[in-house]
């Protein structure tokens, strides 16, 4: 299978990455090259094989529902692009 130019632009939109026409064409070629490599997988018979997410069979650890973090919002917001009154500023979304 191969991705069309429209597929590339749709995926870029999903990934929230702006892309121009020329760049999309380059990506199309490169990404299709990667999918040619990935296509090797399709020939493998995996019937009855269970998917492996992690090397170790882990149980999700649980902890008591108590507050363990201290309030550091000033320290963390000091590195934000735009902050006012303890809030992160973004372009207006609701008219």
């Amino acid at each position: 299978m191969s991705l069309t130019l429209n597929d590339v632009k749709r995926v870029a939109r999903l990934a929230r990455i702006a892309v121009g026409d020329a760049e999309a064409a380059t990506w199309q070629q490169q990404i299709n090259g990667i999918f040619d490599l990935i296509a090797q997988m399709q020939a493998v018979d995996t019937a009855g094989v269970s998917p492996m997410a992690h090397a170790q069979d882990l149980q999700q650890r649980l902890r008591n529902d108590i507050v363990t973090e201290t309030d550091q919002h000033e320290k963390f917001q000091a590195i934000a692009p735009q902050v006012a009154a303890g809030l992160y500023l973004v372009p207006q979304v609701i008219e």
Binding site: V19, I34, L37, I38, Q40, Q42, V49, S50, P81
Partner: protein, 487 residues
């Protein structure tokens, strides 16, 4: 002094023949002199380092020192370090000052080790040559026209050029072992879950693992004693008893069964690498080991599987870089959505965007079963290959990489050629096994060759011992580029 191992440096500090401040200054001076040519460090802060050194000297003076107190270490710029700029090799984090310590960084601080700075790396650890770094490629200390490997290329070059006695690295598909091989140093990727990922900027969370990079296996063992251990802040950190990773260093090799995967000695392996690896195996036989041929039949599939799983996980992990809470925000945008798109378009480099695109696609509606699920199933087959192999051998050995350090630009234009150079290392991450690279020779142009050692789960101490015995019998690990000695 710059060739001294960590044990020797610790002895000099304990006997007060040198102070941590003096030792730290020695390395800072070397960095100042040599880093402009090598570009191994992104951030150096002499003031911060010397303050840590003085604190270490105070601990030594009061008898409160541990085994490594006062010894400097460089950190890959993927680890958050409180008060240090932490860029992950990206424009996206060019001005990001980490507000907290990664677990690994904190462990080394608690041990009294002195942070020498943050080392260069491929952007978000995506690359095998260091050429994707926003801060420019690192040069290989053995050949300035060649890459140091990646993604932990800055850490590898720093240790190889003796700009640091030791460094941290991370390995998602070979990012500790491959640069270690290409720069002639020793590196260990531990079993998945042994070292906490807390504060380590995430790439592919089911594969990422931190490990030590140093001049010898013995040094790596000492560093593992500090790095490893349970941390409740990493949900995949394993609760296991504390280990002494130096415990098997002196264990003899008589009767050791080394498995040689025939797929690792097949087409694509360069003659120089094959010769050096053969010579290393000959040395192991002299030390009493036996070799047996084994099969890892799904080796070829590890690359396609990796290039589904790693981009898929990366596309989710890198969604957090949206220009809102930290990092880069594009200067101009029309609305919120455009702000996200412009920020990510300008903040990420080409390779990172390529992988986010691949990952977004394979996780998108209608393709999950064909790509992600199929890749996870083949991942199990790859892991089973190793389980099968370890029924007839104690350790697996082979080349770390098919060739030695390649030239700048040689593979940069062709992502596939770059991906294929990780053929021997990726399967180890997919299976979650520990793996090492140990220097074992030079190619015709004087560039290092790495021998890869792969062990069963939790066999790090044994692997380090197997590497150490080889390093007792050979001197490849002790060599450094001759033109860097006197400087």
């Amino acid at each position: 002094m710059i060739n001294a191992g960590l044990t020797e440096l610790a002895a000099l500090l304990a006997q007060k023949k040198i102070s941590s401040a003096e030792l730290t200054r020695t390395y800072l001076d070397r960095i100042a002199a040599l880093n402009p040519a090598l570009n191994a460090f992104i951030t150096v802060d002499a003031e911060l380092s010397l303050a840590e050194a003085e604190a270490a000297d105070a601990r030594i003076a009061t008898g409160d020192a541990g085994a490594l107190t006062g010894i400097p270490i460089a950190h890959k710029d993927i680890f958050c370090a409180d008060g240090w700029r932490t860029t992950c090799g990206s424009k996206m984090l060019e001005n990001f000052i980490a507000p907290y310590d990664a677990h690994v960084v904190r462990q080394f601080k608690n041990a009294g080790m002195v942070s020498l700075g943050k080392t260069n790396m491929d952007e978000f650890a995506m690359g095998s040559s260091n050429e994707t770094s926003y801060f420019g490629a690192v040069k290989n200390p053995w050949d300035r026209a060649a890459v140091p490997g990646g993604s932990s290329g800055g850490s590898a070059a720093a240790v190889a050029a003796r700009l640091a006695p030791a460094a941290t690295g991370t390995d998602t598909g070979g990012s500790i072992r491959q640069p270690a091989a290409l720069t002639g140093i020793t590196g260990l990727k531990p079993t998945y879950g042994v070292v906490s990922r807390y504060g380590m900027i995430a790439f592919a969370s089911s594969l990422d693992q931190a490990g030590p990079m140093a001049k010898s296996a013995q040094d790596c063992a000492l560093l593992m004693n500090v790095m490893a251990g349970f941390d409740e802040r990493d949900s995949t950190s394993l609760e296991r008893p504390v280990e002494d990773y130096t415990r098997d260093l002196q264990q003899p090799l008589a009767g050791l069964k080394i498995g040689l995967p025939r797929e690792y000695f097949a087409e694509g392996l360069s003659d120089d690498v094959a010769r050096a690896v053969e010579a290393a195996l000959h040395e192991y036989r002299k030390l009493g080991a036996q070799t047996v041929e084994i099969a890892l039949p799904n080796t070829q599939l590890s690359i396609p599987v990796y290039y589904v799983l790693a981009p898929a996980e990366a596309s989710a992990n890198l969604a957090r870089f949206d220009g809102v809470r930290y990092g880069y925000r594009a200067p101009e945008y029309r609305d919120l959505n455009d702000m996200y798109e412009q920020t990510r378009s300008h903040g990420f480099g080409a390779e990172v965007k390529r992988r986010i695109m691949v990952g977004t696609y394979v996780l998108s509606h209608g393709y999950y079963d064909a790509y992600y699920l199929q890749a996870q199933k083949i991942r199990r087959l790859i892991a089973q290959d190793f389980t099968e192999a370890f029924t007839c051998c104690d350790v697996i050995m082979g080349p770390t990489t098919p060739g030695t350090a390649f030239g700048f630009g040689e593979k940069a234009a062709d992502p596939i050629a770059m991906y294929l150079s990780d053929i021997y290392t990726i399967a180890v991450n997919l299976a979650g096994l520990p793996g090492m690279s140990v220097p074992c020779g030079m190619d015709a142009k004087g560039r290092p060759v790495g021998l890869q050692l792969i062990g069963n789960y939790f066999s790090e101490a044994r692997l380090l011992g197997i590497a150490h015995r080889y390093q007792q019998a050979t001197d490849w690990h002790a060599r450094m580029p001759s033109d860097l000695v006197a400087k």
